[in-house]
Amino acid sequence: MEEYLSVALPKGRLGEKVLALFREAGIADIDIANVGRKLCIEDESAKLRFILVKPYDSAVFVERGAAEIGVCGYDVLVEQHSDVYELLDLGFGKCAMCVAAPKDFVDEPGRPLRVATKYASAAEEFFTSKGRDIDIIKLNGSIEPAPILGLSDVIFDIVETGSTLKENHLEVVEKAFDISARFIANKSSFNFKNNQIMKITALLSDVAAKI
């Protein structure tokens, strides 16, 4: 008998999109309207167990084997250096990691650039690759007020439409990398549940190609 496969999904809009994608691909039939506040949903016929976790944690669940497969944003993989297989770019949840600053910002190369971000590791790597000395200010909530209040010179954050930046009189200075939702797998589980994982990958790939 086929064993259950655990799928780590980010709670919220991205998770809902993934469940819809699984439904469209004929992999699982979970009605989003019935999910409510449940954190674990099973599709018995598909032998899939969906675990709904914070977006930032889904890669950890997969890397540590608590879930065999999952979906997370590329930003999370870059920040956490997750040691997982990145099997598919699902082509949605598109945005970009950007450096943004007040409209009148002029960089002073003579001193470290103060960077406010939730993504300290990704920011460090990006600016190091450019040879720019920085002072990271790690924040956990809204980043946009940091340069306005003089806490930082720039921010290093996700930009989707740019409207939040505009409302806070900030503008994109440079794009670091593009982000989208990625279908990932645990490297050990990939070998033990290879047929199940490859079947799901193929079905998702067909649907994702149409997005």
Partner: protein, 308 residues
Amino acid sequence: MEINIDILSKSEQLALALRTLYAKNGYSYYRMSRFEELELYTGNRDFLVSPDILTFTDKNGRLMALKPDVTLSIVKSRKDDPDALDKLCYSESVFRVPKEADSFREISQTGVECIGNVTDDDIADVTLLASRSLDIVSEDNVLVVSDLDILNRLITATSDKSDVQKKLIQLAGQKNVDAIRKLAQTGEVDQKASEALESVLLLSGTGDEVLNKLGVICEEAGCGDLCEAFSKTIAKISAKLGSGKSKLRIDFSVTGDLKYYNGIVFCGFVKGVHTGILSGGRYDGLMAKLGKKSKAIGFAVRTDLGRF
């Protein structure tokens, strides 16, 4: 002296069982110090699993390191005799930041190194021993094998820039075919060669499932000779494994730094453990970098994962 094995921890019992296996296969036990001069690692950081090293200054003012790796110390200390065969095993702690962790850990490893006149038969024997080691840990295991000579040829055909090649090795380790495809679309790499690389990365399975397809891809990509040599090695290992050959899988996401590793490389998994517990392969590149003429192959089993 009578020893009650029950008083040993699972990790110690495993290390003992592995050492017994290696002794039966002609490997002599090699004991080494936990410290090494930092200089040994500074020139070979890419060989290490993690570049972070715990250092201290000893009372003579020498900058020392708590060993992050065993292989470098063994290679450094052994006489370079390319006509002889040196078969050593060890059970040691190394100190490093594992891939999935943020801080230093003491990691217990038991492994083997086979140095000198390493023949194709020795390569098959060491790979077989790796599979037997996994059998001791758990019946439910898989040894995933790859060939870096093939991967290297495909990657150098895809790009001649070293930074792009490094990126491609990283993407291969993630099975990230979509990202390679995107690189090809930017024109940064050779499109035809990158397609061959993508096709090879999509292969995953037993020798029977993979080798014919691999042969076709490699023939078209101009590395049919390498595929033939790899197939012969796999056939040798499969013959020795007999009924256990289904535990051997081929997957080119098992990679390594191409400056140090070459030919066959492998990673071992057991069901229920989230990460590889065995890793190894040929490292003639490291030998050459350290000025040695000998060839070498080895592997290490992590005995500290605690779920065996």
